[in-house]
Amino acid sequence: MLNKDQIAQRIAREVQNGQYINLGIGIPTLVANYIPDDLEVVLQSENGLLGIGPFPTEDKVDPDLINAGKQTITMTKGSALFNSAESFAMIRGGHVQLTILGAMEVSENGDIANWKIPGKMVKGMGGAMDLVASAENIIVAMQHCSKSGESKLLKECSLPITGIRCVKKIVTDLAVLDVLPEGGFKLLERAPGVSVEEIQEKTEGKLVVEGEIPEMRFE
C-alpha cells in the first residue's frame, strides 16, 4: 500500500515539461515536492497566482500571499498575479493543462464527487467544479476504500457529483488506473505487495485487467 507521499510521488511521474498545473488541497499539494528539478512547470493557484513557490521561511511569511488552501507560500521567479475572474478564465479557457485533485468517489465513467456529504458536510465546492468541467487532463489522488473498507471506485457515485465524465487517471493507495472513454477502470500498476485480486475485490466499478500488471517501484 502507498502512503500519501508515495501517491504524490507516483502522480509526479505524470507531470510533463512545460505544463501549467493546478494542484488541489491535500495529497495533490504534496505532488509539488516530487516534481523532478529538470522539469520546468508552473503551478497555478486559483485565487490568482501563476508560479507557486515553496513555503516561506518564518521571516518571509506574508499574509497577502497564500495559495487556494489558504497556506502561506512564496512566488517563483517569473510569477504573475491576477484577479480570480482572470484565474478562472485561464482555467475554463483550457490554458491550465493538468489538474490534480482529491476525490471522495469516482465512477467508472469518470464522474467525480468531492464537495458535499448531505447532512454532514456543507463546506462548498470552491473551484473544483470549474476545474473538472474545463481541464483536458484530470488526475485524481485518493484512497481506494473508505475507512470502513467500502470501495470508492464505483459504478455510479453515491454522493453529489462535482463533475461528469472528466477523470482520466486515478492513483490510489493500491493502484494506478486509467478511466476508459467507454467506461471502466483499466488497471495499469499495482502498489508494492498488493495483488490484482485484492484490487479487484476493492473496486466496485468495472475493472479491466489485461496481461501482466507491473508493480510500482520507489527509490
Partner: protein, 232 residues
C-alpha cells in the same frame, strides 16, 4: 480629479441599510475589508445578503457578522472554516447559495460589466445546474448563469489615491477588482492613501471610476489561516 476621500470606516457605512445586498472582497481572510466589517458590526442592521467567496472564520471577518445574526443569506463558494456558519445553515437560520468559485467570480465580473448572463461548463450534471438553462455549443453542454450586483461593495487595496484608483498586493487582489465594479456604491479601504497623481497610471489595477468612497484604513490584523513555513 474627483475626490472620493472620506474620513473613516464609520462614515463609509453610514447609509448601509437592513436587507441590503453587500459584496466583500477577499479570499479566506486575505484581502478582506477589515475596517468596514468592523464598522458594520457597530451598526444596528440585519437581514443582509452577503456575497463573498468565504464567510470568514468564527471570530474574524464576516464570521463576526454571522455571530451577530446580521446576515440573512450568504452567497459563497467555500465556507469550510466557520463552525457558527455551519450551525446556522444546518438549523435553517441562514440561507446559503453555494456556487462554483469561477462562476462566482464571473457572475460578479458580469454584474460590473453589464453582461446579464453567460454560459459556463462549471456545474453541468450537478445540483448546481438545477433549474438553469442548458445549451450545447460545439458538442459540449453549458449552463446559463446570471450576473450579481450589490447595493454596497466593500473592497480592500494595498494602495489607493484620492481619485479612487487602486493597487492590490499579492493574492490579496482576488475578488476585490470585480466587486469594486459590481457595487452601486463601492467603498475602498486602503493601507496607504496618497494624493491623486502619486500612483503610476500604468500600475493601477482598479480605475477610480468604480470607487465612490475611499478611506485610509488602520490597525490591519491580516490574520493568517494556515501558517505554513519551510523547515530549517
Amino acid at each position: 480629479m474627483i475626490n472620493k476621500t472620506i474620513a473613516n470606516a464609520a462614515e463609509a457605512v453610514e447609509d448601509v441599510f437592513s436587507n441590503a445586498v453587500l459584496m466583500f472582497g477577499g479570499f479566506g481572510l486575505s484581502g478582506i475589508p477589515e475596517n468596514s466589517i468592523q464598522a458594520l458590526l457597530d451598526k444596528d442592521i440585519n437581514g443582509l445578503t452577503c456575497i463573498s467567496n468565504n464567510a470568514g472564520v468564527d471570530d474574524f471577518g464576516i464570521g463576526l457578522m454571522l455571530q451577530k445574526r446580521m446576515v440573512k443569506k450568504m452567497i459563497s463558494s467555500y465556507v469550510g472554516e466557520n463552525a457558527e456558519f455551519e450551525r446556522q445553515l444546518l438549523s435553517g437560520e441562514l440561507e446559503v447559495e453555494l456556487i462554483p468559485q469561477g462562476t462566482l467570480a464571473e457572475r460578479v465580473r458580469a454584474g460590473g460589466a453589464g453582461i446579464p448572463a453567460f454560459f459556463t461548463p462549471a456545474g453541468v450534471g450537478t445540483e448546481v445546474a438545477n433549474g438553469k438553462e442548458l445549451r450545447e455549443f460545439d458538442g459540449k453542454l453549458y449552463l446559463l448563469e446570471r450576473w450579481l450586483k450589490a447595493d454596497f461593495a466593500f473592497v480592500k487595496a494595498w494602495k489607493g489615491d484620492t481619485a479612487g484608483n487602486l493597487i492590490f498586493k499579492g493574492t490579496a487582489r482576488n475578488f476585490n477588482p470585480m466587486m469594486a465594479a459590481a457595487g452601486k456604491i463601492t467603498i475602498a479601504e486602503v493601507e496607504e492613501l496618497v494624493p491623486a497623481g502619486e500612483l503610476n497610471p500604468n500600475e493601477i489595477h482598479t480605475p477610480g471610476i468604480y470607487v465612490q468612497r475611499i478611506f485610509q484604513g488602520k490597525d490591519y490584523e491580516k490574520r493568517i489561516e494556515q501558517r505554513t513555513v519551510a523547515k530549517g
